[in-house]
């Protein structure tokens, strides 16, 4: 006899009126079990990241060489004090993974935020102004797309110096062309439509047109691309970390943890296995979510 049961009929009742777009969206989305699973994992990772201080059994930075390279609890010599074992200088791997979740989410979100902002503006600009500006921007994007992306990222990190912030900038740059192309294509297809013409006739300025009329109409593909972009960003940043160019030790970034412990791979399998697994699961979750979002935004594809 609580509010919950009272609510239930209210939801089901207005079947005659068309469903609210958000609810319809959720209907499509939740039918996709993979996408829901992805969402659950992401929520879990976000919670872990937020509650790292509470959840982590140890400090991610505290070294203790007397307990170096302890195996996970189920192996001989392991203990529940260090459930996933310790690294070469005696830090708790589980705690480092937990704090690493913060970094990976930060990387994913920051990188996508930067490249969406810059990319969308560039795309809108080249779509609206056309001519030489468009040629310049789009050729530059072609060049970025032509070069092997990791190589370009490495060169940029070499210029800026290795580090978390710089590797984020590098990755943001290499995934940017997708957003530029997306935004430009949207602008070109939208500007020929009536409502834009109408707005233009009624005296709306270009800036206003760009941000008030056209942009909201290409948010759906941008959101899908963003969700997929987060997974690319996490992967690429981890690859940079693996090559020693990303976040620097003692930062518990997952790729950096892998690179840092690589020499112990023959002696202690857990030092490389768990960080990689963490990357895989997180990236997979974002990809599942991205797939689900795309299908939900575009029900036609579902058939």
């Amino acid at each position: 006899m609580t509010a919950e049961t009272m609510d239930a009929p209210a939801v089901a009742a207005p079947t005659a009126t068309p469903p609210h777009p958000l609810r319809e969206f959720w209907g499509y989305f939740s039918a996709n079990h993979g996408a829901v699973a992805g969402l659950v994992v992401i929520v879990a990772v976000v919670l872990v990241a937020l509650l790292a201080d509470v959840l982590a059994p140890h400090s991610p930075y505290l070294t203790d060489t007397t307990i170096a390279l302890k195996p996970p609890f189920w192996q001989e010599g392991g203990s529940f004090t260090y459930p996933l074992g310790t690294d070469p200088i005696g830090r708790d791997i589980l705690s480092r993974l937990i704090y690493g979740a913060r970094l990976s989410l930060l990387i994913g979100i920051m990188v996508v935020a930067i490249s969406i902002m810059v990319g969308t503006v560039l795309g809108l600009v080249s779509g609206f102004f056309r001519g030489i500006i468009e040629i310049f921007i789009m050729r530059l994007m072609d060049v970025i797309l032509t070069l092997p992306s990791l190589l370009l990222a490495i060169v940029i990190v070499a210029i800026l110096g290795p580090g978390l912030m710089n590797s984020m900038l590098a990755v943001a740059l290499i995934i940017m062309p997708h957003y530029v192309r997306l935004a430009r294509a949207a602008v070109i297809s939208e500007t020929s439509k009536d409502y834009v013409t109408a707005a233009r006739v009624s005296g709306a300025g270009t800036l206003r047109l760009m941000f008030r009329e056209v942009l909201p109409n290409c948010t759906a593909p941008l959101i899908v691309q963003a969700s997929l972009g987060i997974s690319t960003a996490i992967l690429d940043a981890a690859a940079l970390g693996f090559l020693g160019l990303g976040a620097q030790p003692p930062s518990p970034e997952w790729g950096t943890m892998l690179a840092d412990a690589r020499e112990f791979v023959l002696r202690a399998w857990w030092v490389v296995t768990f960080p990689g697994l963490a990357i895989l699961i997180t990236v997979l979750a974002f990809n599942l979510l991205g797939d689900g979002l795309r299908d939900a935004f575009d029900p036609k594809l579902k058939r």
Binding site: T65, P162, V265, L266, R267
Partner: protein
């Protein structure tokens, strides 16, 4: 049915991977590709390991030692004033041949003159061929030292110096002085491809080059006509394997017989393997953390001492060097003459360190620790050491930020004194304490850069400068011993470790000798059949 198919699928690769057998072949898992085949412009051991097999030198270091022994010169005389060296060259020394070049004459004085002059005289047609960066020739001071090189006859050579130089013979035994063929050079110059001389090498050494594939393999064959007699092995193969764990895996499987630079993490397993012996020799090196004594608060000796006491050296040796290093107390390694054993290291004592800091009136100190981005012979992992130091310093209330730059940039900035504390190290090459104490800690070096602590301490400097001009070794030993005492009192460095040269070698390898210079010489080495 299905099961057996699966079984076959798994087993086939194992069968595929089976290695072939070859007679008297020694495989060395080297750590990288040689840069090219002209020893004169290179500085890396990786390149010297290759050129060392192909070329001979006028004189050599004895195998496994630092003693100078005859090479292409059978004997030599030095004039009483130490200025004129006369070399009597060996007769009948044959050159290798390849598809472009068949030698018509034996090695003679012209070849030695060619080798020295191409690095010395700017107008020489080969001065700029491949590169004019003749690093060691310049670093050893040859341009200033050499006065003339004359050919008396085909097998007699006279070298005149501008001033006496005791280590001159040792200099000639170094890799940069690998003798190349003048006849080959002339032929290639005529053919319009002089750079071939340095890409397709012709030497007089115990092995000739059969094949080189970058990043994959260097293949040598024993040279039948080598003046010292044919090598005991027939084929020598360098399997280029950059990853130390992979080198170990290959050594374990018998895919190679000798490997350099083992991964410290794998040493325990290596010691347990009955097929492998680990050869060990103390290296001529030191790794340290230099305090910038010109910057506050490191101008105060109490702060430096406090840091020395705060950092747990044993933990660093145990978890980073493992068994590849010994804790360093003095700036020179224990194997070097004049090493002062009575000097006591600052003991690890965070409490005392805290007190000392308070005494110096320093609180809430924020500083930096520079860590080089690359592995060096004296420091296997500077960043990991920095992490340990950072944690140790946090315990005495010091916040330290780890900084790193690209390697070339790193050394430059460090020598310019931009750091507060920074890790670096040194590998000596002539075995003299002067090469450490004056080069790294003297007042001159504080100005020119080599002294990264920027530490100019008059009493210390007086001692090492005096030792430099003294000829009596006993007196010099005394002076250097005193200097080490002052060094420890003043603590311009946190001395970390002296790295030990470790070489895992398979049991079937006979008579492989470690070189104090870290070279790998395979002439004289044999391999037992299985």
């Amino acid at each position: 049915m299905k099961k057996s198919a699966l079984f076959a699928a798994i087993c086939v690769p194992a069968f595929l991977a089976a290695a072939p057998l070859a007679a008297k072949t020694l495989v060395y898992c080297s750590e990288g590709s040689p840069e090219n085949f002209f020893a004169g412009i290179n500085t890396t051991g990786t390149t010297f390991d290759v050129t060392g097999q192909i070329y001979s030198r006028v004189v050599d270091f004895e195998r496994g030692g630092t003693q100078v022994v005859p090479g292409l010169a059978e004997k030599w005389t030095v004039s009483p004033d130490g200025l004129v060296y006369t070399f009597n060259l060996r007769k009948g020394v044959k050159w290798h041949s390849n598809k472009n070049f068949k030698p018509t004459r034996d090695m003679n004085a012209d070849d030695i003159i060619f080798t020295l002059e191409r690095q010395w005289k700017q107008e020489h047609p080969f001065f700029k061929v491949t590169s004019s960066n003749h690093t060691y020739f310049d670093d050893m001071g040859m341009p200033k030292l050499l006065k003339s090189i004359e050919k008396v006859d085909d097998y007699t050579l006279k070298i005149t110096l501008n001033q006496p130089e005791a280590p001159f013979l040792s200099d000639l035994a170094m890799e940069w002085a690998a003798i190349q063929s003048k006849e080959y050079a002339d032929a290639m110059l005529k053919a319009g491809s002089p750079e071939k001389v340095d890409q397709e090498p012709i030497g007089t050494g115990p092995f000739y080059l059969l094949q080189y594939q970058k990043d994959a393999v260097v293949r040598f064959k024993a040279f039948d006509q080598y003046y010292g007699g044919k090598a005991k092995i027939d084929d020598l193969v360098f399997s280029i394997t950059p990853d130390p764990s992979v080198r170990w895996a290959k050594l374990q499987k018998g895919e190679c017989h000798v490997m350099p630079y083992p991964n410290p993490a794998d040493l325990d397993a290596m010691k347990k393997d009955p097929n492998v012996t680990i050869m060990e020799q103390a290296g001529l090196n030191v790794g340290y953390l230099a305090y910038n004594t010109t910057k506050k608060p490191f101008d105060d000796v109490r702060v430096r001492k406090a840091f020395n006491m705060a950092i747990n050296k044993k933990a660093i040796i145990d978890s980073v060097y493992l068994s590849t290093g010994v804790a360093a107390t003095n700036p020179i390694p224990p194997s070097m003459w004049s090493y002062n054993e009575t000097v006591k290291d600052d003991a690890y004592n965070p409490e005392a360190a805290k007190k000392l800091l308070a005494e110096a009136g320093v609180s809430n100190l924020e500083t930096d620790i520079w860590a080089m981005p690359v592995q060096r012979p004296y420091n296997p992992n500077a960043k990991r050491i920095a992490e340990l130091m950072q944690a140790d310093l946090a315990k005495i209330g010091v916040k330290a930020e780890i900084k790193s730059f690209e390697w070339g940039e790193y050394r430059k900035r460090l020598q310019a004194g931009e750091h507060q504390t920074g890790m670096i190290g040194w590998t000596g090459d002539n075995g003299d304490p002067d090469n450490f104490l004056h080069t790294l800690l003297g007042c001159d070096a504080a100005k020119s850069g080599g002294n990264t602590a920027k530490w100019c301490h008059k009493p210390f400097d007086d001692l090492v400068v005096k030792a430099k001009v003294t000829t009596d070794q006993k007196q010099r030993t005394e002076l250097y011993k005193q200097a080490q005492v002052i060094f420890k009192e003043q603590a311009p460095w946190f001395t970390i470790a002296h790295a030990v040269q470790l070489k895992p070698v398979r049991k079937e390898v006979v008579d492989f000798k470690l070189s104090p210079f870290g070279r790998h010489t395979f002439y004289g080495v044999d391999i037992k059949g299985k």
